[in-house]
């Protein structure tokens, strides 16, 4: 049996005609003792419908402007935020993002890691370090997610250039199943006091 949208897959009807079949239910098989029928009649619809109306048609440019105004993400956006996109962030958020990019690749770059790094440079490090288990696309999505989150919060909370942005706003650096080997913290065995 297929469920609609199982595993995110669309269920598309097969080409061909359709039929309208009618059927009557068979006799009821009761699973509980039913009380004697005291009321007969018809069910009366109750409640309210909401009337929805579609907005006016939009040109692609108008739609793009609408998405930007409403904060709707473009599904075809680049994985690495462009400088034009970065410019939309307040200054403090830009700095926080650059620090996050630097922190992301710090275990790869070693001691020479700068305090702040642009996403393009961070992506180059990830490109060199990607593996089958940690594919590049998924790793770059983490950079995009950081940026999208900052943009969303900046819009929602009306950040300005002076709003302090903590590194906590980003959440975990990597999804649990994507932590690269080089980014895993080396667990030091506890020192035996004996």
């Amino acid at each position: 049996m297929k469920r609609p949208n199982k595993n995110g897959k669309r269920v598309v009807p097969q080409p061909g005609g359709e039929s309208f079949q009618i059927g009557e239910a068979g006799l009821p098989i009761y699973h509980m003792p039913m009380p004697p029928v005291k009321s007969r009649g018809q069910l009366i619809p109750l409640g309210e419908w909401q009337i929805g109306e579609a907005g006016p048609p939009m040109t692609p440019d108008e739609y793009k402007a609408y998405c930007e105004r409403e904060g709707i993400l473009d599904p075809d956006r680049q994985l690495i935020p462009s400088p034009e996109e970065l410019a939309k962030l307040p200054l403090s958020a830009r700095v926080a993002f650059a620090r996050r990019c630097a922190a992301r690749i710090a275990p790869l770059a070693g001691v020479a890691t700068p305090q702040e790094l642009n996403p393009q440079a961070a992506a180059l490090f990830l490109l060199a370090a990607s593996t089958v288990q940690t594919p590049l696309r998924r790793m770059l999505r983490c950079i995009r997610r950081d940026f999208d989150r900052l943009l969303h919060l900046a819009r929602k909370q009306k950040w300005t250039d002076d709003t302090p942005v903590s590194s906590d706003v980003f959440g975990p650096m990597w999804p649990k199943d994507l932590v690269p080997t080089w980014a895993r913290e080396i667990q030091q065995p506890p020192v035996n006091p004996v």
């Binding site: 609609p4 061909g16 005609g17 309208f20 009380p35 029928v37 009321s39």
Partner: protein, 151 residues
């Protein structure tokens, strides 16, 4: 013999389903009284018996197999005293899937239908599936309605 696989695109309970023209398999039908909340007349006491209720489903075949599937519906009283209780089951008519018509609209009438009390009810659309140990009933769609007393 393989049986056609399908997905349930819509499953809706409503008060009636009328033809938009001469009855026939190519004629569209109108669902009437499609809403979640229903009321019974003021002063009505449980159990309630209603003339009919309809269940509409649109099914998309998802394989190239022609054949039929058997359906049944189970009514569950979710707000029964002491917790949800199965009220009744009813076999429904058999649905045919063909290569020419892989999309099936079907409306089943349940008449009459009894409800033991007020509250929320769940219609579970089930189909029979073969298991190693026999045939089982698999729930393929659910619809909910609320029955309230009119103020």
């Amino acid at each position: 013999m393989a049986r056609p696989k399908f997905s349930v695109q819509h499953f809706v309970a409503c008060l009636s389903v009328s033809w938009e023209g001469f009855p026939g398999s190519k004629t569209a039908r109108t669902l009437e009284g499609v809403i979640h909340r229903f009321s019974v007349s003021p002063g009505a006491e449980p159990g309630f018996e209603f003339d009919e209720i309809w269940l509409y489903a649109r099914l998309f075949r998802s394989t190239q197999v022609e054949g039929t599937r058997e359906f049944s519906v189970k009514l569950v009283w979710l707000d029964a005293p002491g917790g949800a209780r199965d009220v009744l089951s009813r076999p429904l008519s058999i649905v045919r899937f063909t290569n020419a018509e892989p999309i099936v609209n079907i409306a089943w009438s349940l008449r009459p239908i009894e409800f033991p009390g007020l509250g929320q009810y769940e219609f579970r659309l089930r189909t029979s599936v073969r298991r190693r140990v026999g045939t089982a009933q698999l729930i393929v769609a659910r619809e909910f309605i609320q029955i309230e007393q009119q103020p």
